[in-house]
């Protein structure tokens, strides 16, 4: 049986940082998958960018479960921000409350037209107020193949945070 998921890179932060970038991503795969297990030093927004592109090239819609049980599910759309937001600043809190888990699938990432992505994010700390689950799909609309992906926060990722990138082959 052929190996379809191959590890491209993985890192565990040895000290706090607000950005991690997978650069020089091999163009030999069909799709790529990012997996991140993240703790923050405090409340913060988490987002990703492709190719360090800050243009209005990210469009997504997310279904969310946020906060206590009285908070209704909401769907949000995002665009025009030069980034794709994974969680807003008042949702993920300090790593002392727990770590979040993020998977992002970039399909056809070497394509010269729009590249769809699908992400899932979860943060369920001990305090229900901050419970967050997002499922989102979107498009990166640049005509340039994805050769780098950056995960960024306006807080800091704690030491021990892990970022991993898989390449996925169709056969």
């Amino acid at each position: 049986m052929p190996t379809t998921y191959e590890i491209l890179a993985t890192t565990t932060l040895s000290s706090t940082a607000n950005t991690y970038t997978f650069s020089s991503i091999s163009q030999s795969y069909t799709d790529i998958r990012l997996v991140a297990n993240m703790g923050l030093t405090g409340q913060g927004t988490i987002f990703f960018r492709c190719n360090s592109d800050t243009g209005n090239n990210y469009y997504w819609e997310a279904l969310m479960a946020v906060g206590s049980s009285s908070t209704p599910t909401s769907a949000i759309q995002g665009s025009g921000e030069g980034r794709c937001i994974v969680t807003a600043g008042n949702q993920q809190t300090s790593s002392t409350n727990g770590y979040s888990l993020l998977t992002v699938d970039f399909m056809s990432y070497t394509f010269s037209l729009n590249k769809p992505f699908f992400y899932e994010y979860g943060f369920v700390p001990a305090t229900a107020l901050y419970n967050t689950k997002r499922t989102a799909c979107g498009n990166y609309t640049s005509g340039t193949a994805i050769s780098s992906v950056s995960i960024i926060t306006d807080s800091n990722f704690v030491a021990g945070t892990t970022f991993t990138l898989f390449g996925i082959l169709k056969a």
Binding site: I7, A65, Y99, Y121, T135
Partner: protein, 171 residues
């Protein structure tokens, strides 16, 4: 190139069903786990399944957004629960339709909290009994996950239900 996704164990439920079964002695050599299920239970009503780690019956947190029937969604938050829910179709649901779940469990050998994200569905040929769910959660505690026990909340897990557990390596 090393294999990153490895099938640890697979179970096909036989005639008569079982009320519970366990993936035991889970190897500690992977980074993450992924559970796939296709299952029904032998009782009617909104009775699904559940899983627990290491026979522990406390310290789970879980949040989800669920869509059901037609255009209806809601959010549920459960902190400090005794188990994690697994959607399984019931005996009064459409014959031969199986609930399906995918759970991605991160950092399962860690002594810190172990976050998971999920997507699940109870499919049906009737909109009034169709459920789709996106969730996230966390297991508190300091012990690595060495076993995973899946149970029906009522009756048995029905014949032809299937469960597959994969280990995901980062090397």
């Amino acid at each position: 190139m090393p294999t990153t996704y490895t099938l640890i164990a697979s179970t096909d439920i036989g005639a008569g069903g079982v009320s519970t079964f366990t993936f035991s002695s889970i190897p500690q050599t992977y980074k993450d786990l992924q559970l796939f299920s296709s299952a029904r239970v032998t009782v009617s009503g909104r009775t699904d399944g559940q899983f627990i780690f290491n026979s522990v019956t406390s310290g789970y947190s879980y949040t989800f957004a669920e869509g059901y029937s037609t255009n209806t969604v809601y959010v549920s938050n459960s902190n400090a629960t005794s188990q994690v829910d697994v959607l399984m179709n019931q005996s009064d649901n459409t014959a031969n339709y199986f609930g399906t779940s995918q759970y991605y469990i991160s950092n399962y050998t860690s002594t810190n909290q172990k976050p998971h994200i999920s997507r699940q569905c109870d499919p049906s040929n009737s909109s009034s009994t169709f459920y789709i769910q996106t969730g996230a959660g966390q297991m508190a505690g300091t012990q690595a996950v060495t076993s995973l026990t899946i149970s029906a909340k009522g009756g048995n897990i029905a014949q032809y239900s299937k469960f597959h557990l994969y280990g995901i390596s980062y090397t």
